[in-house]
């Protein structure tokens, strides 16, 4: 397949996308799990049986029952409710950090790939340096220095993922900038910003989106690591990671506190990975 054919992807409609996804059983399962997590996040106040911080001191550490399907924690708070609200935090951090990383990383990759020379060298060596750190450690160091909070967690995860988008965008830009329609716009005297944003950008978006879907899963896991270590959103905000952190002290008396939030992370990330695999199969003709 020629380079141009590889680079240019025709945008598919939502109906076509859904048809493709549902035809592949793995992608369909992934889509189902992600949609479930999204429904939990968006409809938390409607779905959750209790308020997330409502303490029921009569039923502390009670096992799963008809009143509390997934049991209660040491303050009598309903685990199911907190998992549903935790979906909000996890998905919010996952989406926002990937969007921030995608916007900044794609911008940098676009500029590096288009201008080349020292601009490219400067940007890509900076990205190499970020890549030289194990991602969790870098995210940990950033949140440790800036202070534990939801905003800083988003920022830290975005910084960690920045080089991935920059590399993908640069590689695609290198291919697209040589194509005839880009040459034509240059010859016609279009401004550089116009060429970058209106001609090259739309043609490099497909792999960036696929990368985003794959990194979304890892962003959720990184957020859960940070929360688990006490460096993400702070209590009483419910996150799956800080629920697990809390559960460590009660593993013998209340194992459900550790089982269910972990299962929520696992199923959501599994859904993202299955969906990501499906998207890659759909958009990446090399596979």
């Amino acid at each position: 397949m020629s380079a141009s054919a590889n680079a240019i992807h025709r945008p598919a409609g939502m109906a076509a996308f859904l048809r493709t996804m549902t035809r592949d059983p793995r992608a369909a399962l992934g889509l189902g799990l992600v949609v479930l997590a999204a429904i939990a996040a968006l409809g938390a106040p409607l779905i959750a049986p209790y308020a997330p911080d409502f303490p029921d001191f009569v039923n502390t550490l009670s096992p799963p029952s008809a009143a509390h399907w997934l049991g209660t924690d040491e303050l009598g708070r309903d685990v199911l409710t907190r998992i549903v609200y935790g979906a909000r935090t996890s998905l919010f951090v996952g989406i926002l950090s990937v969007v921030v990383a995608a916007l900044a990383g794609t911008g940098l990759g676009l500029v590096a790939g288009y201008f080349g020379r020292w601009t490219e060298a400067l940007i890509m060596r900076a990205m190499d340096v970020v890549f030289a750190f194990p991602s969790i450690l870098l995210a940990l160091a950033i949140t440790a220095v800036l202070g534990p909070s939801l905003t800083n967690a988003v920022l830290a995860i975005a910084v960690v993922n920045l080089p991935v988008f920059a590399r993908v965008a640069r590689a695609q830009t290198l291919v697209v900038r040589q194509l005839e329609f880009v040459e034509a716009k240059r010859a016609l005297g279009f401004r550089t910003a116009n060429i970058l944003l209106r001609t090259i950008l739309p043609n490099i978006l497909a792999p960036v989106i696929v990368q985003g879907s794959l990194l979304f899963a890892s962003a959720i896991i990184t957020e859960s690591y940070l929360s688990f270590l006490g460096l993400g959103a702070q209590p009483p905000t419910a996150t799956w990671g800080n629920m697990l952190r809390n559960a460590i002290g009660f593993m013998e008396q209340a194992p459900w506190l550790a089982l269910f939030p972990g299962a929520a992370i696992f199923l959501t990330v599994l859904g993202c990975n299955l969906l990501g695999d499906g998207l890659r199969d759909r958009f990446d003709p090399r596979d």
Binding site: A141, A144, L229, A258, N273, L274
Partner: protein, 314 residues
């Protein structure tokens, strides 16, 4: 080979320089005076003034960096806020347990991933392939601390045969050391195994379709020899590459695993230092881990030039 090694080492210089700049600026990002961040809020004002002078904090930022990197090259990573011990011996003391844990995780992951990947590739589209691939995907989707918690629930609480946390030195009691090592090593090794298994399967599928494998089969070589002797030999390069990258990421993964299992390695030291606001230790650990990460990547490059001379020649 020497020329290749030299070229790779030269290419590392800007990366290592960059990592040191990041580690240097970590302390500068802490709100307030870096000298107070390094010595702690309760530090003596005279000590703070002395450190400000020692670190050249009244000088331009470039001079501050040069002063700091000079201290690092002299082995002076500063002193821990807690107890005032030098940071370098603290870091080196924690490296041993982390190296043991990483080595055990690596061994476990290879023992699981290579046979599973080969079975999945040689029995493509069978239930064995589906099961191995699904388990690998589950391994990739599972946060390691949750797997650690599940293992503790299973093997320390419900079936108490292994300790849930702690560390016994290998020289003090080898058997107890191994018993303490099993659960954290399994936790770390599982994620590593998942990615490696997927790569082994994909690479073996490609290699098994190649002409030389078809020739080996046509010659009547036993299937086992074709797969393990001929196909695996050429499939090793991408597997080693991925494993090298994964091993580097494992340095990040130990942070969480060591915290769950109270394993006194570099990861737990970092987390404890973060909560104690012991920034000299955090800075030293970040720098040391990043350098180790870069060197592991270099070692990976060198290993595959040994496995495949074509890489070196090109």
């Amino acid at each position: 080979m020497a020329r290749y090694l030299l070229a790779r080492l030269i290419a590392l210089v800007p990366i290592l320089l960059g990592t040191s700049v990041v580690a240097f600026f970590l302390i500068r990002l802490v709100p307030g005076d870096p000298a107070i961040a390094l010595l702690g809020l309760d530090a003596d004002p005279q000590a703070i003034a002395a450190l400000r002078q020692q670190l050249a904090l009244d000088q331009p930022i470039v001079i501050q960096y040069v002063t700091w990197i000079g201290h690092i090259f002299a082995g002076d990573f500063g002193r821990s806020v807690q107890g005032g011990r030098p940071v370098l011996p603290l870091l080196l003391g924690a490296l041993g347990p982390t190296a043991l844990l990483a080595a055990a995780a690596l061994a476990i992951s290879l023992a699981i991933a290579i046979p599973a990947g080969i079975v999945a590739a040689t029995r493509r589209n069978t239930s064995a392939d589906y099961a191995a691939s699904f388990l690998a995907l589950c391994g990739l989707s599972m946060p390691s601390f949750w797997l650690g918690v599940l293992l503790i629930l299973a093997f320390s609480i419900y079936w108490p045969i292994l300790p849930a946390s702690g560390y016994v030195s290998l020289t003090a009691d080898p058997l107890e050391h191994l018993r303490h090592l099993v659960l954290p090593a399994l936790t770390l090794g599982a994620a590593l195994a998942a990615a490696t298994m997927r790569m082994t399967r994909a690479t073996m599928l490609e290699v098994l379709r190649s002409d030389y494998v078809r020739t080996a089969r046509a010659k009547g070589l036993p299937r086992r020899r074709v797969v393990w002797g001929h196909a695996l030999r050429n499939a090793r390069i991408p597997i080693v590459t991925l494993h090298g990258i994964q091993l580097g990421q494992l340095l990040g993964g130990v942070v969480v695993t060591e915290t769950v299992f109270s394993w006194p390695g570099i990861g737990k030291l970092t987390v404890d230092a973060i909560f104690a606001r012991d920034y000299p230790v955090v800075q030293g650990a970040v720098l040391l881990t990043a350098v180790a990460f870069v060197l592991i990547n270099l070692a990976t490059d060198l290993v595959y030039t040994v496995l495949d001379p074509r890489v070196r020649l090109s």
